[in-house]
Symmetry: C2
Subunit: 286 residues, 2 copies
């Protein structure tokens, strides 16, 4: 699964069929509307009508997740599973989602499918739809300029090619190994390794798969489980801002009055060199 | 102060002097390296050498804040004040920072100043510099593709014009009213209105100026103090994911076992219609 723009594919490019869209690498499944995985995220959706709760304003989309339909009607509740879980992760990790529109939509091309660029899931919810059944609802916003998109897609250029978007590596930089984060969170059942708290919510438990030595420059930490912790947002922010450190040998929490002489909970292997690095930064910053 | 790209100014564009840079709206101060405000953020920096701790790798910059110098030498500690505070806020709120390089730098133009596009502050610290005094250190990364920037800026095009960057409204979307967030946090001395906790760190206390009715689509909440709360990251995430709501009339916290029959701390005026909106979403999501 590739996230972000596909080399050589322009925003506004047309495809005759779902098969062509798949062959181009834009959207591999030829039936499913969501191309996503439960432990990775979703990289692409195709809008082709069929969900009564969908709203399409071009730069903003209210998108209904998959499942619970029979003969085109919503007959049971949707869950955050499969593609829906993927889109949920795309929101959590700010992954870009390719959007293609089909001829079935008022805002779609007159025939076939059109690739309309990258969108971000800004919010999601699980809410009663018009049918009375629960649906997973995703709110997506285009990364392109609103006026630009409207001018280019609505008015005169509807079915033609649009200019190549500038290459965006910001997207790629943001794509971290979601699987590692999700794995470390599951290992601790979403409980913070420092305080043990588990933050529940109707949209799933809240925790952060945090890197001990930060990714990217200047720290250049690796994206591996041995460099990760499961933390609540509070202890994550405090860790990143050097409020405390974890003693590499004893795993004691140092710097927080409420956790004197306490150790972190540990169920997976951490490489102490990453804790050493963080400890050094802790002392550098005071 | 304008954030992001300036209409009509291209990446790679040259300016004869700091005065020209100021007149173009890229960087208003003609002396200071940072164009920023304590309660708003910083929108632009100029690199012109002069700080021994600076590192310039074009797409990555280690930038030393302002202050503590006499006759070009660091003679006292820097603090997170004025421009340094501005850059700190630009990190917290992910505001884009314009970067211009002067002729004094190895990576700069052969004369005058060159606008090198938008960067983001990825991390900051307060750390002992080479001089032995504390400096505020900011790590900035270019939003442009690394290869692109290197090819275009280093090799053959060093002093000429580069292509126009695609217009970026994502930046503008991200620019919220920092002042309101900072005001609501100060009002509560960075203590969470739900749990009363104040999260300290050597880089300043940690809290979130949270919007009750979210900004942007679909909710379209306004960026005003009456729509804001000061929350710790844990209670912010739980608020946004409908783990609890605040009863508009009584201000009681509903949905969290640990806070039964408790009210939020309130020292500023909140408009109850925003709490009503959030309460409705709370029930919609279960």
């Amino acid at each position: 699964m590739k996230y972000g723009n596909i080399e050589g594919i322009k925003v506004g490019q047309l495809f005759d069929s779902r098969k062509e869209l798949a062959e181009a690498g834009v959207h591999a499944p030829t039936m499913a509307g969501i191309w996503g995985r439960e432990y990775e995220g979703a990289c692409s959706i195709v809008l082709s009508g069929g969900y009564e709760d969908d709203i399409d304003q071009l730069d903003y989309i209210q998108y209904t997740g998959q499942g619970g339909q029979e003969n085109g009607k919503q007959t049971s509740d949707q869950e955050f599973k499969r593609g829906n879980k993927g889109l949920q992760l795309s929101c959590e990790y700010h992954l870009p989602v390719r959007v293609s529109r089909g001829y079935q939509l008022p805002n779609g091309p007159s025939k076939g499918y059109r690739f309309d660029g990258l969108y971000y899931v800004e919010k999601y919810e699980r809410i009663k739809g018009k049918s009375g059944f629960y649906v997973c609802r995703f709110h997506l916003k285009s990364e392109l300029e609103i006026n630009n998109l409207e001018e280019q897609l609505i008015s005169n250029l509807k079915d033609s090619y649009l200019p190549t978007p500038r290459k965006e590596t910001k997207n790629e930089r943001l794509i971290r190994n979601v699987k590692n984060s999700e794995t470390v969170k599951s290992t601790y059942d979403f409980k913070c390794q420092v305080c043990g708290v588990k933050l529940d919510s109707p949209l799933g438990p809240i925790a952060i798969g945090a890197h001990i030595k930060r990714l990217g420059r200047p720290d250049e930490g690796p994206d591996v489980l041995e460099n990760m912790l499961c933390l609540c947002p509070n202890h994550h922010d405090q860790f990143d801002k050097y409020s405390y450190f974890i003693e590499p040998e004893t795993l004691e929490i140092k710097g927080l009055d409420d956790y004197k002489n306490k150790r972190i909970n540990l169920r997976h292997k951490i490489n102490p060199i990453f804790l050493e690095f963080h400890k050094k930064q802790f002392f550098n910053n005071r």
